[in-house]
């Protein structure tokens, strides 16, 4: 029984990993950005003073960014330029190195800036700095939606 559960778990994780990275990179990158967006929503509310500042929460935001940035650029393989209502622009594939570097910079900024956070003021500064990466990437590599 134990073995069966283990096998099922491995199979489930394996299937997830395949879905996430192999067969459907478009769904995987949307999922990744959705999670990032949830964190950013929390962060924006704290930074704006619409929600109370929470240090643990604040640090989790930067950790989530760093984690997402570690794999995000891999989710745009050749052949995933279209389909699934993707908003990814051809600029990603045309400027592959620049795109990968931009994602890496986001992760690196999340690490360095996140380490400076001790209170609301330091959070606002760090969050503002790291999220500059959001706008600059969306400006160049994502089709207009908002």
């Amino acid at each position: 029984m134990k073995r069966f559960i283990m096998a099922a778990a491995v199979l489930a994780i394996g299937t997830f990993a395949v879905t996430a990275q192999g067969s459907d990179p478009i769904a995987a990158r949307k999922e990744s950005m959705k999670a990032v967006g949830q964190q950013t929503g929390l962060g924006a509310r704290m930074a704006r003073g619409q929600a109370a500042f929470d240090l643990t929460q604040a640090r989790a935001i930067f950790a989530a960014y760093e984690q997402a940035a570690a794999t995000y650029a891999n989710l745009f393989p050749e052949g995933s330029q279209t389909g699934g209502e993707t908003a990814a622009l051809p600029a990603i594939w045309a400027n592959r190195a620049a795109f990968t570097a931009a994602v890496a910079k986001w992760g690196a900024d999340a690490r360095t800036e996140g380490a400076k956070v001790t209170d609301l003021a330091t959070f606002q500064a760090a969050f503002g700095e790291v999220t500059k990466n959001c706008g600059s990437c969306h400006e160049t590599y994502r089709a207009r939606r908002n």
Partner: protein, 306 residues
């Protein structure tokens, strides 16, 4: 008989030509309209941000948003317009312009040489601006660095190359009306209406256009396909297709930091717009939000699902 007919055709041709000439004559401001106290450069800086000048006119390929050498290409169904140099460079920019030249460009869409500008330069919105804001803006722009970038000609097919023809377009679509406050509405709404409809020129991107290139009035602010390429310009009316679920505070905060209530960070051309609106005062952003929240809800085409 034939000769008579030819004479008639010739006469009709001359009459039509004269009518065209007369109808398409560039209209200028009366010189007295520009009277007033010394311009306020500080306010001019805010008008510059509210007007989004840098978004189109910044020198291509470099990040300094005070260098107004131009070169950005604005794609449209008519062709591609290239933003000109509006830095104080004497030959390449507008360094030799008088205040009247500048005001006629902003409020009448007429160049110092008396030619019509294409409405890719959004004077359809800028015409609502106060003369005093326009004078302040000009005073501020004179303090910016001169940039020697040469103007790139627009990439347009005939007949759109005939600027004189724009006189007819203006007759149909440029009403020449300044912004008129509505005394029955709160001061913040009026300030917001001025910023959104005038310098902010929000409707220019956030509205669908008819084949004439004019905004479809009953769909104003209801968004539509991106005329510049891939993607979508969102509906910014309080309709469920648009921003009905956003509070006024959500809108004002978005104009400051670019985050949607859902935690998305805006992209495309709006990322650049946020760099402008983030320079405004909190009160001005709140005023813009109040005006947008009070717009009639208009249906847009539902945006594609994420």
């Amino acid at each position: 008989m034939i000769r008579r007919l030819l004479v008639l055709v010739a006469v009709l041709g001359v009459v039509a030509g004269a009518a065209f000439w007369w109808l398409t004559m560039p209209q200028r401001l009366a010189p007295a309209a520009l009277a007033g106290p010394a311009p306020n450069v500080e306010n001019g800086k805010l008008v510059f941000a509210a007007g989004g000048c840098a978004s189109c006119h910044v020198t291509e390929g470099q990040p300094d948003r005070t260098r107004m050498g131009g070169g950005h290409g604005l794609k449209s169904p008519f062709g591609t317009f290239y933003a000109p140099n509006i830095s104080p460079h004497p030959e390449r920019g507008i360094g030799r312009w008088s205040e009247a030249d500048f005001a006629n460009a902003m409020l009448k869409g007429v160049s110092p040489a008396g030619e019509h500008y294409y409405p890719a330069f959004p004077y359809t919105s800028y015409q609502r601006m106060t003369v005093s804001d326009v004078r302040d803006l000009f005073a501020y722009m004179k303090t910016l660095p001169a940039d020697a970038t040469a103007n790139r000609p627009h990439d347009l097919p005939f007949p759109f190359t005939v600027r004189r023809g724009l006189g007819l377009w203006k007759l149909a679509f440029l009403d020449g009306e300044p912004f008129r406050p509505d005394p029955s509405k709160p001061a913040a709404w009026n300030r917001g209406a001025y910023l959104v409809e005038g310098p902010g020129h929000c409707a220019e991107c956030h509205s669908p256009r008819a084949f004439t290139g004019a905004i479809t009035a009953d769909r104003r602010f209801a968004g539509g396909p991106n005329p510049e390429g891939a993607g979508w310009v969102p509906n910014i009316t309080p309709h469920r297709d648009g921003i009905a679920s956003w509070s006024a505070d959500d809108i004002a905060s978005f104009l400051a930091d670019g985050f949607t209530p859902g935690g998305d960070s805006t992209g495309g051309a709006m990322a650049s717009v946020i760099r402008n609106t983030s320079q405004l005062s909190e009160a001005d952003r709140a005023a813009m939000a109040a005006y947008l929240k009070a717009l009639p809800a208009r249906e847009g085409r539902a945006p594609p699902r994420r």
